[in-house]
């Protein structure tokens, strides 16, 4: 018995077509990821801007009151809602007189004052702001925390 030669395969098989479709759709994936990245980065920048404002707020207050006032802060006087050295909610139990965007409640803040070493009396003020774990802003913000710093000096003589 002689075997007849198989004719040459000029078309595509079903499996080949399905595989081609799969590869094409996979090629599109990075494009869609890139498109949605725009939204994510804009949400990130909006959240970062708010975090910066929240970090700069205590600095503005302490700078306005001045070095002498700040050097005894927490001992003889304090402002409710601005504790030193502890992470605290912003606009939590004591919202205070300042109007902030509603998303501010999703942040935590810590304020530290550290005396400067050297002959010139001064305080290094550092404010850290971080999103509350599991909050919307925690997903949006790419940075773990925002830090703002300043130095408060005594009036030179």
């Amino acid at each position: 018995m002689t075997r007849r030669p198989r004719p040459p395969r000029t078309g595509y098989s079903f499996v080949e077509v399905v595989l081609a479709l799969l590869i094409v759709s996979l090629l599109f994936l990075p494009l869609f990821t890139q498109l949605s990245q725009n939204r994510r980065s804009s949400l990130d920048s909006a959240a970062e801007l708010l975090a910066h404002s929240l970090a700069e707020e205590p600095i503005e207050i302490f700078r306005a009151f001045g070095y002498r006032w700040a050097s005894t802060y927490g001992k003889t006087h304090s402002i409710p809602g601005y504790p030193l050295g502890v992470w605290h909610e912003i606009a939590g139990a004591e919202p205070g007189p300042i109007d902030r965007p509603s998303d501010s409640v999703d942040f935590w803040r810590i304020i530290t004052l550290q005396p400067l070493s050297g002959q010139c009396p001064g305080l290094r003020m550092r404010v850290k702001v971080t999103p509350r774990g599991g909050s919307r802003l925690d997903r949006w913000l790419s940075q773990d925390e925002i830090v703002a710093e300043t130095v408060l000096f005594e009036k030179p003589r």
Partner: protein
């Protein structure tokens, strides 16, 4: 059997699969585009808001009372009242205040005979006002900044439209008091900008399909800080601000 072509069943199956894949691709592309557009608009409004807040901070930092003969015993509340004038009702608010020129030295606007005020003729009069956008159905406002240099000379007024996407802009004086009773005045600025996700669609009220960008700031004018440090305006070295008592 000679299999040069494809069967009808294979064509139908491939067409079905192609339909499913292209439908998924179209959906992904549609949502990706929407998401991208939202991101671009939010970024635009955020940048616009940042620019406005920067301008507001620059102006409010230099805000001061135009009264040339302020009593040294004047309390901070009166000092503040003389600094900011608010008129209109929400949301058509107008905020007017005087400010010494940002490029000039603060000392240049304080006369030698003054006891705590500023030379009115040296000050700029600045007004921030919200005006209704041209489209009646829209809830958006235009935020306009007007500057009358040199004591409020209206013939030299400079008008600047900062944004046409504003839904809220409030400049509010706030008094922050510590537990010992000492207080300081600040300006609390609240700003909210909005945009529609669908091109050409008016924003009539807050709701879905909109981008809202909210921001705030707390500003202590240098004149307030100097005032707080000493009622007679002693030199405030940190702010490079000198009053009559320090001369």
């Amino acid at each position: 059997m000679n299999r040069n072509g494809v069967t009808l069943l294979e064509i139908l199956l491939v067409a079905l699969l192609l339909g499913i894949v292209s439908s998924t691709v179209w959906r992904l592309f549609h949502f990706g585009t929407l998401s991208s557009r939202e991101g671009i608009r939010r970024a635009e409004r955020t940048l616009e808001g940042q620019r406005i807040m920067k301008q507001l901070r620059a102006d409010l930092t230099h805000a001061c009372s135009p009264v040339a003969s302020v009593s040294p015993d004047l309390g901070s509340a009166e000092w503040l009242e003389g600094t900011m004038e608010q008129s209109g009702s929400p949301a058509w608010l107008h905020f007017t205040f005087h400010a010494f020129p940002g490029k000039g030295s603060p000392e240049s606007v304080i006369g030698p005979e003054l006891t705590g005020g500023f030379q009115d003729s040296s000050l700029d009069r600045i007004t921030y006002s919200l005006e209704r956008a041209s489209n009646q159905g829209s809830s958006l406002y235009k935020l306009v900044r007007r500057v009358c240099p040199g004591g409020g000379d209206e013939s030299r007024e400079i008008r600047q439209e900062l944004s046409s996407h504003v839904i809220l802009c409030v400049i509010r004086p706030v008094r922050i008091t510590d537990t010992s009773g000492r207080a300081q005045w600040f300006f609390n600025v609240s700003l909210a900008l909005a945009d529609s996700l669908e091109p050409g669609k008016e924003i009539s009220e807050r709701g879905a399909g909109q981008i809202i960008v909210e921001m705030y700031d707390l500003v202590c004018p240098v004149a307030f800080a100097a005032r707080w440090n000493d009622l007679r305006l002693v030199p405030n070295w940190y702010l490079r601000f000198a009053g009559p008592a320090g001369r």
